[in-house]
Amino acid sequence: MSEIEQRFARIYEDTRKDLYSYIIRSMREEHTAQDILQDVYLNFFRIFQQKSPPDDRQCRMYLFRIARNLMINHSRRFYIRHVDLVEGYDTGPAASGSGEPAPGVEDSVVDRMEAEEQEKILGELLGELEEEHRTALILRFQLDMRLEDIARVLQCSVSTASRTLQKAQQAVVRAGERRGLKPA
């Protein structure tokens, strides 16, 4: 591999899981998330193929911004898949594990049902939010991003990002209350 290919490979390895997490939580549909993930990287490679990519932190921020832009566009118009980056991907349960040791069969079924139900509720709650609020919550509480980095992705000041996050928390709690969810 050439030097630039090695650099792209490292950026891809370092960011793909976080990016996928951000996209799947926002879009809630695996195939769509994979399509968008693919386009995020293809756009990124296209932009930086002719010039040297910036430092890793900057690249990560650009990737999240591209993902955000593509998801907003996707919501506005229908999306046609032409290329399958994830060849042979198995959507069955076996492929969905996070690498942890498999528990007993009964526990596994109950846990899975609970987890699926909770994931569904979370998806519905996030789906009710404005895109900016949803992104802020996912970046902060799922990917553990610092406020400064969230502000860079949202392309706003740190204080605005902080206010956005606060409003997002209130909005998602209100959405939960409308569904009869109470704090544990």
Binding site: M1, S2, E5, F8, A9, E13, K17, Y20, S21, I24, R25, E30, Q34, I36, L37, D39, L42, N43, F45, R46, I47, Q49, Y62, R65, N69, L70, N73, S75, R76, R77, F78, Y79, I80, R81, V83, L85, V86, Y89, T91, A95, S96, G97, S98, A115, Q118, E119, L122, L125, I138, F141, Q155, S162, Q166, Q169, Q170, V172, V173, G176, P183, A184
Partner: protein, 365 residues
């Protein structure tokens, strides 16, 4: 951040759970030569890469301030020293069109007439008539065999131009009193006007080489072969007269047909025309009904196969538009002007107020 916000805690815990990840592929150098399905626009790319020139923003802001001040001064001078402009030019928006249609300038129409152009040459001239295209005052709409187009005028009138027609948007103006005057000239063919709500003071009329039909709050169809003109009233009341016979105007009621033999004639009014025109009203349904039939059968029925294919393609891409009253429309929002939303469905084109739309569920085609 608000660490004391305990109500959020359960959701925070849910968010912190890891997401089930698929087996994402390893990096492949071939991706560097692959084009994305969804590319960033130049503007989006510049914004994402922080390439939006900030000094230009300041320059633009400064220019805007200067222009505003200059504009206020010019406006002040104009107001006190010169009469206000009499009219404001409006435009029509194409809501729906089939193949075999075109928008032509006056010069192009003259050239085609002089050259004795064939229908194919008429169709190739000018620019394509597509949904969302704006048609300006003075421009012509041409439709060939099986061609049709719906246009929305600024007053809310929707005009359907059917096959083998030539129609000019003669006047599309808004006067200083905010009244609209819209006038169409149908040289040949047919034009169905749906006048739902015309504001007081607004006027709308369709002229032919021999007749004038002017209305308010009605639907009517005008047709002409260049000599004899006919006006059929679908709903409401229309005043019809020969072009050169101002005293000879006659009111034509619903389901009546007025026939004007020449410009000086008094219109002949024929009652009970519903049977004769039923086929025309159901033209769309007829076309849908024969969808899937063989090409020979379509030709025999006078329906162009390409028109049906285009219609089927369009239907597959329709979105679901959920209205606040709970009803749902399958169609496409082709344009929006202020609060007026132009919607095209399989059956018709119509306008709704933006406040009536609850949400749009986009097609996943």
């Amino acid at each position: 951040m608000n660490p004391e916000y305990t109500e959020f805690e359960p959701i925070r815990r849910l968010l912190a759970r890891p997401v089930a990840e698929p087996r994402l592929p390893d990096f492949n150098p071939a991706w560097l030569n692959q084009k994305p399905v969804q590319s960033l626009t130049v503007q989006a790319e510049a914004e994402i890469m922080d390439r939006a020139a900030r000094p230009a923003v300041w320059l633009a802001a400064a220019a805007a301030v200067l222009l505003s001040v200059g504009g206020l001064y010019i406006g002040y001078r104009a107001y006190f020293s010169a009469p206000a402009p009499e009219v404001e030019v409006a435009r029509a928006i194409v809501l729906h069109s089939s193949s075999f249609t075109a928008v032509l300038s006056e010069a192009e129409v003259q050239r085609l007439r002089q050259a004795g152009a064939t229908p194919a040459e008429w169709g190739q001239a000018g620019r394509a008539l597509k949904p969302g295209v704006a048609v300006s005052r003075g421009e012509w709409i041409w439709t060939g065999a099986a061609g049709a187009a719906d246009l929305a005028l600024s007053s809310g009138v929707v005009v359907r131009v059917t096959e083998n027609s030539l129609l000019q948007l003669t006047e599309l103006v808004k006067s200083t009193q905010r009244n609209r005057a819209e006038r169409l000239y149908l040289e040949r063919g047919r034009a169905l006007s749906m006048v739902e709500r015309l504001a007081p003071g607004d006027t709308y009329e369709v002229r032919t080489p021999t007749a004038i039909a002017g209305v308010r709050g009605t639907s009517f169809r005008v047709s002409t072969d260049g000599e004899t003109s006919e006006v059929y009233v679908v709903r409401g009341l229309v005043s019809v007269r020969g072009l050169a016979n101002e005293a000879g105007a006659r009111d034509v009621e619903q389901n009546q047909l007025a026939r004007v033999a020449d410009a000086g004639a008094v219109p002949e009014v024929l009652p009970n025309q519903d049977e004769e025109f039923r086929d025309e009203r159901d033209l769309d349904e007829l076309a849908r009904g024969v969808e899937g039939a063989g090409a020979d059968r379509l030709e025999e029925m006078g329906v162009d196969e390409r028109l049906l294919e285009a219609r089927a393609d369009r239907r597959r891409s329709y979105n679901r538009i959920v209205m606040k009253d709970g009803s749902m429309v399958r169609g496409e929002i082709v344009s929006q002007s202020g609060r007026r939303v132009f919607i095209e469905t399989e059956e018709r084109s119509f306008i709704v107020d933006a406040s009536e739309v609850h949400e749009v569920l986009f097609s996943e085609q």
